[in-house]
Symmetry: C2
Subunit: 507 residues, 2 copies
């Protein structure tokens, strides 16, 4: 048991401790520069009991640091039913860029344990989240993040004393919430579950328990844990995780070889079919909005394959208030300096909304792989990280649909030339398109790997044959309407279920 | 009266109208490229009656556009008491960058008229907002934005017919809100106030009224207004506003000449005074948090004047959950491509929180002026735009405090050399610092202009003499605690008052 904790006496007297704290604070200030040079992002997670003094500890940690290179984020309690995003999103959102510190006043532990014990999520959802937290921590580490996890511990009696003191003073009584009182009452249950959580999340980054009953030793121990971890990370250099051997429920395809590029649609039937499907989609959009089902539609494909026109036909019937088309270009410096999925996490749709990504996170295993913008470890590892990411989305309740818009090299050449020869379309064709075209075989291989390694039962790939663009549009619309229809009928997902369950309980 | 409106018959038959719509849609697609080349950002604001078909109209406008170069933002109703930011912030937040279109489904008009008629804001606050909307539109125009304002109009009877139809169908009845019913009932009052608002906001960009009872002509007229306005803007080139002659309540100083750089504090008294003021500040932070008073503290000053250490002493007693230090570096490309205040609007504190800006929007009239990063028109105009910005903040209820951390050239040289000679401080001194130092006289002049032109009764400048850094820290702390004490006692501001008023009314 991790929380069955007695601090080992270190024999420092008051003056010596003060000197040591001063030394380590100065060290931390120096490390702000060192992690910039080493391009390390550092996340310090501070969890702990209500009234244990977390805010105060953070203040003592940061007081000499240069505010340009760190941030503090406080995660208060969000009632589950107010959350319209996957629970990890709020933590991804605040990830620091390389060279910066982030201090988090509670995080993924409180969000999991607290919600479970307050009966806002089911046990099943709790277990799932523990697993997600482990994945999150591993992904952070593998992508170069240094994570320091602290837990500020106080006994039940000490918590009661502090709550009582706060409540006796008119100026501070507002600080004690019903949640605090409830934790006090359920202290033993919280103790057990905190401990359980910590035991299950020691794999990637260890927990450091701090004795919250003594401010000075807690500060000392926290500084020691942080500066020690950062020092080792600087000495070791930025960590780059190897691909993991995890198993996903893969469909093993589709393959470009099986695509029938001669597929066409009778132009006379096209207009009617298009109208029919668009009308159907408009109705379904309405329903997924009301049922709060989130939808993520991914478009990848060859240059000039007809992505843009395909997306427009899909978007046309949607209520503009309920969807976004998200064009993905090459990452900005701030995006490059973070976890490669960060810029996608921050753009997820709210529940009930549709996000259409015009190019996606698969850039990691295509252009970044081929152009050498990331290491082989990075893109090899990305298949698993992407599968995990999409699993988070579907576990949350999202419908995830992925399209590879497919043509052959001859069709592409024809379209490139047509663009070149039509003045108002010339902007659509750049030297880069021609350079990419020269790499067709490399891309073909990368696409094939991607289709093999990331087509899962929960987030399948569809090859959309697009030599006949009209055929491609009908096919994409058909797949989307089918998937949404199914989702509306089932109206099932663990995330959403747990919320519903809770609501019913309350009535 | 603008809404006393009858569409002029244009004699187009159905086929001709369809052809014209097709032509203008293609033109709009072409304009997406042209505005990229001309570096124009375009904002299309669509206001109008509930159930007038705004969502549908936007869909018809965008259906052929390239989703990479436009966005749609929907502003539903935020109850006033849930808002923790100045009302214009949400519109600043979504401003497009140069070369992109933004379509807004309702905006600053509904947010003003709707809230007023729903009695969420007072008449006084309504009048203030109308003025703010005019300032907002002028600032947009002066900073190169093209703004097209549309109003989708339907009669009271037509609205009733639509509400009834929606309510009769089980699938759509949820779409009718209490707000819609209330607007129907209060139609005449809304009509009068919409019209009044439109009359008062015709100065910068005219309103285009669309007949919402005929979808085709509404679309036609909207396309004509948008493509026509954009075409003219492209022909004229990006607009650059001249400085305005507006009057602000200026204090006419302080001046660097009056600063007494020999000011010092007895080091023995320093520790005691520091502790006293920090304790006081901690208590005040608590109170402004509870009273929801927002605080904006701005730091500007000479390189090596001691800004960082000053900020740290100020931040130390603050609860990390209730403040942010916001370091401002040179703008990113995305920031440069927007209104120069955009990156500050997006970083404002929530009410009850403190934002400490380490460098600020005054970069516009210092480094950008001196280095020629913007035109003379731009920085000359900026004094007024900044005064208007800070007025928005104080009207919302914020305490705004601005510090110029002041030293003389000799002191700077001494500190530069000390940094150069101390290995762990070398990173703090760059070639740019030396180059800036060579421009001391230009900066001195720019600082003087800034102090003269932007020290207002509501957002005064303070020169903090910082040859003795300890003196400077005490002085800054003293000014902040005095200002917060006053704010807590008065607990006054128009924004906050109007909310309080509303809450009381409801009880």
């Amino acid at each position: 048991m991790i929380l069955d904790y007695k601090r080992t006496e270190d024999g420092l007297d008051k003056a010596a401790r003060k000197a040591e704290i001063g030394r380590m604070r100065a060290m931390l200030v120096g490390q702000q520069q060192l992690i910039r040079d080493a391009k390390l992002p550092v996340v310090v997670l501070l969890e702990g009991w209500d009234c244990a003094g977390k805010g105060n500890l953070i203040r003592e940690l940061i007081c000499e640091m240069d505010p340009r290179f760190f941030q503090v984020k406080n995660f208060g309690r969000t009632p589950e039913y107010e959350e319209r995003y996957p629970f990890l999103k709020k933590f991804f959102d605040v990830l620091p860029e390389s060279g910066k510190f982030l201090f988090m006043d509670t995080g993924w532990m409180e969000d999991t344990v607290g919600k479970y014990l307050r009966r806002e999520i089911t046990r099943e959802e709790y277990d799932r989240r523990v697993n997600s937290c482990n994945i999150f921590e591993r992904q952070l580490r593998d992508n170069g993040y240094v994570v320091v996890k602290l837990f500020l511990h106080i006994s039940r009696d000490e918590q009661l004393r502090r709550i009582t003191a706060l409540r006796e003073n008119r100026d501070t009584q507002w600080r004690v919430s019903g949640d605090d009182l409830w934790q006090q009452q359920e202290y033993e249950q919280f103790l057990k579950t905190y401990d359980e959580f910590m035991e299950s999340t020691e794999k990637t980054a260890p927990w450091h328990v701090l004795d919250g009953e003594n401010r000075k030793t807690a500060l000392y121990d926290a500084l020691e844990a942080i500066t020690g971890t950062v020092e080792r990370a600087i000495a070791d250099g930025r960590y780059e995780g190897k691909p993991t051997g995890y198993k996903f429920p893969l469909l093993g395809g589709p393959s470009q070889k099986d695509a029938d590029l001669t597929a066409t649609i009778d132009p006379k039937k096209y207009d009617k079919k298009l109208r029919e499907l668009q009308e159907k989609l408009a109705k379904l959009h309405n329903q997924i909005y009301r049922k709060k089902i989130p939808v993520v539609i991914c478009y990848e494909g060859w240059d000039a394959a007809g992505k843009g026109g395909n997306i427009r036909r899909l978007a046309y019937p949607l209520d503009p208030r309920g969807f976004d088309v998200i064009p993905i270009a090459s990452p900005t410096p701030g995006e490059k300096a973070r976890h490669f999925l960060w810029r996608f996490w921050t753009k997820l749709p709210r529940s009930g909304h549709i996000a259409i990504f015009d190019r996606t996170w698969y850039g990691r295993v295509m252009v970044e792989r081929i152009e050498g913008f990331c290491s082989e470890n990075d893109w090899q590892r990305a298949y698993g990280e992407i599968n995990e990411f999409e699993r988070e989305l579907t576990d949350w309740g999202a419908v995830v649909i992925k399209f590879w818009i497919h043509i052959d090299p001859d069709t592409q050449l024809e379209r490139f030339e047509a663009r070149q020869n039509t003045p108002e379309k010339q902007w659509k064709i750049t030297d880069e398109d021609w350079r990419n075209r020269d790499k067709w075989p490399q891309y073909e291989e990368a696409v094939e790997d991607m289709l093999q390694k990331t087509s899962t039962t929960y987030a399948p790939w569809y090859i959309i044959e697009s030599v006949d663009k009209k055929y491609a549009r009908i096919r994409a619309l058909q797949i989307v309407t089918d998937a949404l229809e199914k989702a509306v009928e089932e109206n099932v997902t663990r995330g959403i279920k747990s919320i519903k369950g809770k609501k019913k309980e309350q009535k």
